[in-house]
């Protein structure tokens, strides 16, 4: 396999930023996950915290224990190594099913996604539930899941004007990514539905069981089922 160059930038005296690639796509994300879990395995005793972005990774280190120079060399070595292996050698992805009530009040943008796509709402739902998505990363707000890749026909762009308040559990589309809002927050993704599950529970540790590299599948449910499942923790739901 051809391994491309990565960009490593040190900043602030305690952070190393590793840029895996420029464009967000599944190939880049897979490469990132392999490096992320390799670094986690090999460097966790040196590094205070390891965080993935969508196409990049940040390492927070203690400059009293280790230098940016040393870590940079180490990361370059591990990058080459990590791209020769399968993800399953460093991380066993888990699979989560997320039930979603699509459209209506819970998915106010399903209509606009359908008209953008030139499809019916039912067809949009069918396309959205027909794929297994990879969890690219979590971030932006507590428990927000960045998932991909969305079927190109329904990859509608984000809203021009973000909403100030989006309820927890909202499921949205923004281009080739789909996402789930873990907590109520502002946001600009097109909301096509909502899950009744509690996605983020700060009284649990970890508060959300989904990790980068895990697989997420959406399942369409009725409003009645939505009511019955309301508040169930995502980790306890068996689809």
């Amino acid at each position: 396999m051809r391994v491309h160059e990565i960009k490593i930038i040190s900043s602030g005296g305690y952070v190393i930023h590793v840029d895996i690639c420029r464009d967000v796509n599944l190939e880049c994300v897979n490469a990132m996950h392999k490096l992320y879990y390799t670094l986690k395995k090999e460097l966790s005793s040196f590094v205070k915290e390891l965080v993935s972005g969508v196409t990049s990774i940040a390492l927070f280190y203690d400059p009293r224990r280790i230098s940016s120079d040393y870590l940079t060399k180490k990361i370059r070595e591990l990058w080459l190594w990590s791209q020769q292996i399968e993800l399953s050698e460093v991380y066993k992805p888990r699979r989560f099913v997320i039930p979603v009530s699509y459209g209506g009040e819970l998915g106010p943008d399903l209509k606009s996604v359908a008209s953008w796509a030139g499809l019916s709402e039912e067809e949009v739902v069918k396309l959205h539930t027909s794929r297994s998505y990879t969890c690219y990363t979590l971030g932006f707000t507590p428990g927000f899941l960045y998932l991909g890749e969305v079927e190109p026909r329904i990859a509608a762009p984000r809203l021009e004007t973000p909403r100030v308040k989006i309820p927890a559990g909202s499921v949205g589309i923004a281009g080739k990514m789909t996402g789930v809002y873990g907590l109520e927050s502002p946001g600009g993704w097109r909301l096509i539905g909502r899950t009744p599950l509690t996605m983020f529970d700060y009284r649990r540790d970890p508060p959300i069981p989904v990790a980068p590299g895990d697989i997420v599948v959406f399942k369409s449910i009725t409003l009645e089922e939505f009511g019955k499942l309301k508040g169930l923790y995502v980790g306890d739901y068996v689809g």
Binding site: I9, S10, S11, G12, G13, Y14, V15, H17, D19, R22, D23, V24, K48, E49, L50, V51, S52, G53, V54, T55, S56, I57, A58, F60, D62, P63, R64, S67, S68, T137, L138, G139, F140, T141, P142, G143, F144, Y146, G182, L183, S185, F200, Y202, R203, D205, P206, P207, I208, P212
Partner: protein
């Protein structure tokens, strides 16, 4: 943990914003959970050290003025800038342990040096710990009370042997007063920073390093927004893939005006990051008020590592001395 008797600390007056904070929620950025925690880490560490606490104990962080009434004898310390501190009508020193007798009121008023102040209480504040931290993250509604403090709130403080604690701490002072780091109103604050993640993509980065900026009113625990010459290259970069971010990252949104991220900042961001202010200088930036002038000066990664190392040493073990002539 054994059963602890709790004494109370009542908030009787507050003009400003007050929350309970500690050193933050470490290890959960990867789940999108902001670190939160005190804005001026050094001041908070000294406050705790002066009352015999671990530096990671929960304490009150506030802007503006506050009055607290003790329901029981407590040892407290006030740090941050150079505030005016009174017990009843009498002025007492900041950056020193204070014996606060039951029923007495502690009054803290800002001076023209400093914006964020800390009150540490012997034993630390007892409240709900979430993901290893009592820091209040107001937007998420969790940590301690999950909201800013209000007049009438009662804070719980574990019972400690105040007499014996006082005999150990009464003469402690900082070896040099960190309150003096806070620049005077007319002094330009110089922030040392390394290049940020996107520095190479911002052709007019020099503008940021050569100009003076002003702290705006739109500054809070998430970030301090600066006004000044915009970086026009930022608007051309458009939306970037979200990258992990941290306190001290100088983000430049499309309008070109820099934002320095603070403790409650989102864990990832899609704006260009021009610079990264070194940790010791973030706490000082937190201490200046809207209208204050700042500028950035570039330092190397090696220098930043050196600065961060000695800063971390001081945060973990504040440099205290004994004040021989100090009589209570």
């Amino acid at each position: 943990m054994s059963v602890i008797t709790l004494a109370n600390l009542l908030i009787t007056y507050l003009v400003g914003i007050a929350t309970v904070q500690d050193l933050g929620r470490q290890g959960y950025r990867g789940l999108g959970v902001p670190v939160s925690g005190v804005l001026d880490v050094l001041s908070a560490s000294y406050a705790n050290a002066l009352v015999g606490n671990e530096v990671s104990a929960a304490l009150i962080e506030f802007t503006g003025s506050i009055t607290l009434r003790a329901d029981k004898d407590l040892v407290v310390a006030v740090t941050g800038g150079l505030p005016k501190v009174y017990v009843d009508q009498y002025e007492v020193p900041s950056w020193r342990p204070i014996y606060l007798k039951s029923g007495k009121e502690l009054v803290v008023r800002p001076s023209d040096r400093g914006n964020i102040h800390y009150v540490a209480v012997s034993g630390g504040i007892e409240c709900e710990s979430v993901l290893g931290s009592k820091s209040t993250y107001v937007r998420g509604g969790f940590g301690c009370l999950g909201r800013p403090l209000r007049v009438g709130d009662t804070l719980l403080v574990p019972d400690v042997n105040v007499e014996s604690l006082w005999s150990r701490v009464y003469s402690l002072i900082p070896a040099t007063n960190p309150g003096e780091r806070v620049p005077k109103r007319d002094e330009v604050l110089v922030l040392r920073a390394t290049k940020g993640v996107h520095a190479e993509q911002l052709q007019d980065l020099e503008t940021l390093l050569k100009s003076e900026y002003v702290v705006t009113l739109e500054s809070d625990r998430m970030g301090y927004r600066l006004d000044g010459p915009p970086l026009t290259s930022a608007s051309r970069l458009g939306r970037l893939p979200s990258i992990p971010t941290d306190r001290g990252y100088v983000q430049v949104p499309p309008d070109g005006k820099p934002i320095v991220l603070m403790s409650d900042a989102q864990t990832t961001g899609g704006y260009a990051v021009a610079l990264h202010v070194v940790p010791p200088d973030i706490g000082v930036l937190a201490q200046v008020r809207p209208g204050h002038r700042v500028r950035f000066v570039e330092v190397s990664v090696e220098d930043a590592e050196r600065l961060t190392s000695s800063y971390l040493n001081e945060v973990e073990k504040p440099k205290l001395a004994l004040e021989e002539s100090w009589e209570y």
